[in-house]
Amino acid sequence: MRKYSVFAIAREALRHHTGWPQQWTNPEPQPAYDVIIVGAGGHGLATAYYLAAEHGVTNVAVIEKGWLGGGNTGRNTTIVRSNYLYDESAGIYDHAVKLWEGLSRELNYNVMYSPRGVMMLAHNIHDAQVFKRHIHANRLNGIDNEWLTAGEAKAFCPPLNISPASRYPVIGAALQRRGGTARYDAVAWGYARGAAARGVHILQNTEVTGIRRGMNGAVEGVETSRGFIGASKVGVVAAGHSTVVMDMAGVRMPLESYPLQALVSEPVKPVVPCVVMSNTVHAYISQSDKGELVIGAGTDQYTSYSQTGGLHILQHTLDAIVEMFPMFSRMKMLRSWGGIVDVTPDRSPILAKTPVKGLFVNCGWGTGGFKATPGSGHVFAHTIARDEPHPIAAPFTLERFRTGRLIDEAAAAAVAH
């Protein structure tokens, strides 16, 4: 891997940029690997990267039915935050934020992590009480989160409408200053480049069609559209398709897959300096460095694998955006898209060993997986390499739906995750 630096740019500038190497290759599959990761999204690539970089496991293949980073990694609203209520969630999401802070340097790849602040609006007494409880819980876990009055919220985000005459007036906000955004495709590419440089094979356009298990039930490898590939350890990181892939090994999952939509506006000059979220009117918004407003909607009500959703969901979201920011009422929306998110009953992820020997699963990130990408890959790589859960991943078992030891962010976090 050629290191990116100001000297490299200067050198290439003198020879018309003819010397940049490919960031990763498209190798032919080997007959077998030590570890196979199913799914080359952010979480899967991060898992492969940390397997190679931190655990010395480099004989790894990441198998992807489409192109890398082409699923939810390329379809989200790039919000990073860790202000979750429960200790277990705070543990994993803040682990991720700490990795985000040094990620560009770690990968030698600019992931454009921008801790511009995530502000969550309170519109009623219940919101205010819940957010204050979150703030105190976060502080006990060493996570920054602070209460702002409506006036302070307006000062932090000037286009915000705090008129008491609003239908849902803003009465305050919770602000996590370390939260922010990152560049989604740079995250996938940075991890892919770092993993490939350490010997990981990224097999794109290769669909897993089956998981082969031996006489003793243990995993022996995967059937793919390019033939059988052996491995004694398989990690499934397939997001919305986790149920489909785990079915191949005969493991039923507590998951349902829903469409989640987002949209962007025409690009405009800098106007929204932070991330603003509102669970009550249900919308979230930030502005990309290109100038587009990036707006997240909610899930559709029905399960689907269609990667598209209903227009009325987007309209509802834009109603909320215009309520919060009346100045955007004449903004044109350029594009909308949908991803398929796998949702667990308690809205917390599953990062675990499974009843099948050698089969590991990292799924259930629901509507908010992007923020966890580095932390998820980091602890999942540990879980696979050591064959035992990383302490941060330990509570996120598959068995919790049998034992009842849920991590019920569904009840704690209202709507948006």
């Binding site: 398709h241 039923r252 507590p254 998951l255 009500q301 399960t303 227009l311």
Partner: protein, 96 residues
């Protein structure tokens, strides 16, 4: 937006009149005292979540307010058939 035929009202109405109500044909245990943790997990948490034909409950909440069942393709989102609650599960396409 989906167009959904309510089998009670016998007409197609827009999705916003309806509420999705989860997987259909999940039998509630008759005797809770004999239900193991594994049985409860399967009943309460594990879901088919199929890519293909899904059997699911819907409620015509802003119409007749009644629950009914549907078979729908989760790839195209097209409804194959809707039928009244209590009617036998129809076998269609890849549905199980």
């Amino acid at each position: 937006m989906l167009l959904i035929r309510c089998p009670y009202c016998e007409e197609e109405r827009p999705e916003t009149e309806f509420r999705h109500a989860g997987e259909a044909h999940i039998a509630r245990p008759a005797d809770w005292s004999t239900v193991t943790d594994a049985d409860f997990e399967a009943f309460f948490f594990l879901r088919a979540n199929p890519k293909g034909v899904a059997y699911e409950r819907w409620r015509h909440i802003h119409g007749c307010a009644r629950f009914f069942n549907a078979a729908r393709d989760t790839v195209s989102d097209k409804f194959i058939v809707t039928y009244k609650a209590g009617e036998k599960k129809p076998v269609v396409g890849s549905g199980k």
